[in-house]
């Protein structure tokens, strides 16, 4: 059996100059950079006052809204907003709630009152429900949920009060930086290639084969099908996962269109070849090209 070995090489970042999308150069700063010496501005997140000069405390892009200056960091933990869709993993089962790990500074909370009971009934949660919590969600389970509110300490409160949220079944989880996931109207996509994708705002992305069956009886999203997935579906899911990683490595904004274009560009290569740096570069370049044409 022949084995291929390659020496690690420095990653080259592709710079595709898109003159139309950038009206002005992005103002990028590193911690310690002076943003302005003008005292008329209010300081926002990511800045601090250093002897009358507004200085950045994180590495990122400077955003200015009227008189407010803040720095949006390029690499950060997920900062939740109300209404975001997140994919998380249950870490603890507590008395009336679950602790969910969502790649943020604090573990998020999923209260028992914020989940749908199996059977879809609407009633007050009883002690029976409390004792049966572990039957619904255990440690290690993956869920998709929406941010309902934010506690005073910054922890997120999640809810799964819709049929599209709930426990996730068979699929692949990809972890990328939260800043790469573009904010859109919907984060649940059924791609034409035959897979469904949930682009969590917290950087955790879930790829699964499209469920062709009708909704399960009772709903509530707690029943996950364990039927074997066909080979063709698995191949689509693997290819998508490799494409996602390629896009993430080259810091391309992730949304359904970019993912689809990347998938189409990658069809000429074998799935396992998509892990090679030069192939990744090739398909990302092709994707970027198409995106520019699409917008321009």
């Amino acid at each position: 059996m022949a084995v291929e070995m390659r020496l690690p090489a420095a990653l080259k970042h592709i710079c595709v100059k898109t003159s139309k999308s950038h009206r002005e150069e992005k103002h990028l700063v590193v911690p310690g950079d002076v943003i302005t010496s003008d005292t008329g501005f209010m300081r926002g997140h990511g800045t601090y006052m250093d002897e009358d000069r507004l200085t950045a405390s994180v590495a990122g892009e400077v955003e200015r809204v009227n008189k407010l200056i803040c720095v949006k960091p390029l690499k950060t933990r997920y900062n939740g907003e109300v209404g975001d869709v997140v994919v998380g993993r249950i870490t603890e089962v507590q008395q009336k709630r679950w602790k969910v790990e969502t790649n943020s500074r604090l573990d998020s909370l999923l209260l028992l009152s914020s989940v749908n009971l199996p059977g879809g009934e609407l009633r007050r949660r009883s002690t029976q429900d409390e004792l049966a919590m572990r039957d619904y969600l255990q440690e290690g389970d993956l869920i998709s949920a929406e941010v309902q509110s934010i506690f005073s300490d910054g922890a997120l409160s999640l809810h799964t009060r819709s049929l599209k949220y709930g426990k996730l079944g068979q699929g692949v989880l990809v972890s990328v930086s939260p800043s790469l996931v573009k904010r859109q109207k919907t984060h649940f996509h059924n791609l034409t290639c035959g897979a469904s994708v949930i682009l969590g705002n917290n950087g955790l992305i879930w790829i699964s084969p499209t469920a062709t069956r009708e909704e399960e009886e009772g709903g509530g999203g707690f029943h996950t099908s364990l039927e074997p997935v066909s080979l063709s579906d698995r191949e689509v899911v693997s290819r998508l996962r490799n494409c996602l990683l390629a896009l993430a490595t080259h810091k391309v904004s992730l949304y359904d269109t970019s993912l689809l274009y990347c998938y189409e560009s990658s069809l000429s290569h074998q799935i396992k070849d998509l892990m090679k740096p030069e192939v990744m570069e090739e398909i990302v370049l092709a994707t970027r090209q198409r995106l520019v044409e699409h917008e321009g």
Partner: protein, 486 residues
């Protein structure tokens, strides 16, 4: 910060692999990872590397008044710290269960077993005694901290030297190391902890679990033992109920000494070997060579290779390509299998692209070694020796030869008499393997035997150790290789 939780897939995978008797790093059920013990410039400073787990231990001493209940005994103080650099899950100044468990086990292993003679630490009864302080810092957590910590602690204690004192009446004079040589501690025996991790309700057992395996374990059994086959402490944690007939095989594992010597007890034996290696290092220090941490800090191997792009003239590439194609003749004949691989690769269908190399059947190893042929021939041909083909490497031979002689003369006393304390015939065989009488006589004939000698040495030592355990052989190999590296 809490560690990222283990996904269900990974957990299932690990448990399934254990059921099929497979481990992530390819070890067997009772195999230990490579142990490296290194000593620093100060007495009592020791770093132990158990695979990727790194633990640092420092021993220091101080004159203090003794405890009221024990006026004639010295004081032993143990302190283990989980440094945040070891794992993101460790926070400084946080009292976690793991920390308490490790501290307690370390104390039990070293203090309750009475391995150090505390009476000898007394200077003036009731007034002044030596307090020996053992500080263990965990530098990297890749599983099995207990074993690494116990090895580090006992090595550091053996390495440590306390200052000499002179008592005149009630006056105590402490001499500095320059005035009088410091005195080693009196150690009766060396207890070392061995950890066994249980999985799937005690039905599967692994020795020396790595970090991933530790995450999915059900229970842990730590047994502290010494060379004399005495059990110093047993601790079972994790809530797994171990029946007596489950613990017994484990004990038997430790105590059995047969033809196929088990790995745990074998681990105890090479340990004194390594300690003698350490004393060798100390002797070496006087000769002014590089030793200790300076040479042991991991030398970063090549981890990144940056290649700049070279511009290529693309103007008339089509024409040049066609020319080249037309010039070469197509070779369609089939090469007989008896030919050497070098010749065969000329018409190989596999192209070696730049930056990649291919290793496998029928494909030449293209990592750029010039001495492929020489190596092959050496291994086949131990007895004879063909001096002509190695003449062009004169300098290398000479230096290797000198090293080899130094090796032989300085090491034989320290190393080999301790390898098999009870089995003289084995050590004699080993000596025979290594006796370079043949080579000494043939020095004039041709120094071409040097490489063979080295190969035989390695082959000999590995075969001797290979009958017992994988660990010993790797340790011996390490020893030999590190000698050569001097």
């Amino acid at each position: 910060m809490r560690d990222t939780p283990l996904s269900n897939c990974e957990r299932l995978f690990l448990l399934q692999a254990i059921q099929e008797k497979k481990r992530l790093d390819g070890r067997q059920t009772y195999d230990y990872r490579n142990i490296k013990i290194l000593f620093g410039t100060d007495y009592g400073c020791c770093i132990v590397e158990l695979g990727k787990t790194r633990v640092l231990c420092q021993v220091s001493c101080e004159l203090v008044p003794p405890k009221d209940s024990r006026p004639t005994e010295g004081i032993l103080y143990f302190n283990l710290e989980l440094s945040p650099m070891a794992s993101p899950a460790f926070e400084s100044n946080r009292q976690s269960e793991l920390l308490v468990m490790l501290n307690r086990q370390l104390e039990r292993c070293l203090r309750n077993s009475k391995c150090i003679d505390t009476e000898s630490l007394c200077v003036i009864s009731g007034e002044k005694v030596w307090q020996i302080r053992v500080d263990v810092h965990v530098l990297n957590h890749d599983g099995n901290l207990m074993d690494a910590a116990s090895i580090a602690a006992i090595s550091a204690l053996s390495h440590f030297r306390r200052p000499d004192v002179a008592i005149q009446g009630r006056e105590v004079t402490v001499f500095s190391p320059e005035e009088r040589d410091p005195i080693p501690l009196s150690i009766y025996h060396m207890p070392i902890c061995v950890s066994f991790a249980f999985f799937l309700q005690g039905s599967y057992l692994l020795v020396d679990p790595c970090e991933r395996e530790e995450r999915v374990k059900d229970g842990l059994l730590v047994i502290a033992m010494n060379k004399h086959r005495e059990i110093c402490s047993i601790q079972s944690s994790g809530g797994i109920m171990l029946l007596k007939d489950q613990v017994k095989p484990v004990e038997m594992l430790l105590l059995v000494e047969g033809e196929h010597e088990n790995h745990s007890s074998e681990r105890i034996k090479p340990f004194p070997v390594l300690l003698c290696f350490s004393s060798f290092v100390l002797m070496q220090r006087k000769e002014g060579g590089k030793f200790g941490f300076a040479e042991s800090l991991p030398i970063e191997r090549i981890t990144a290779l940056k290649r700049d792009e070279a511009p290529v003239e693309m103007a008339d590439v089509k024409d040049t390509a066609e020319e080249i194609i037309n010039r070469t003749e197509s070779s369609t004949e089939v090469y007989p299998p008896g030919l050497k691989t070098r010749e065969r690769s000329a018409a190989s269908p596999v192209l070696v692209a730049t930056g990649t190399a291919q290793v496998g059947e029928g494909i030449v190893n293209s990592w750029g070694l010039e001495e492929d042929e020489d190596d092959e021939v050496i291994i086949e041909d131990k007895g004879g020796g063909n001096p002509r083909r190695l003449q062009n490497k004169g300098e290398l031979e000479l230096s290797l030869w000198l090293y080899f002689r130094l090796l032989y003369h300085t090491v034989r006393l320290h190393l080999f008499s301790l390898v098999r304390p009870g089995k003289l015939q084995d050590s004699e065989d080993l000596m025979q393997c290594l006796t370079p009488r043949v080579y000494l006589d043939d020095l004039e004939e041709g120094a071409g035997h040097t490489e063979e000698a080295l190969m035989v040495l390695l082959a000999g030592s590995t075969s001797m150790m290979a009958s017992s355990s994988g660990i010993s052989s790797s340790i011996s190999l390490q020893l030999v290789m590190s000698f050569v590296d001097f």
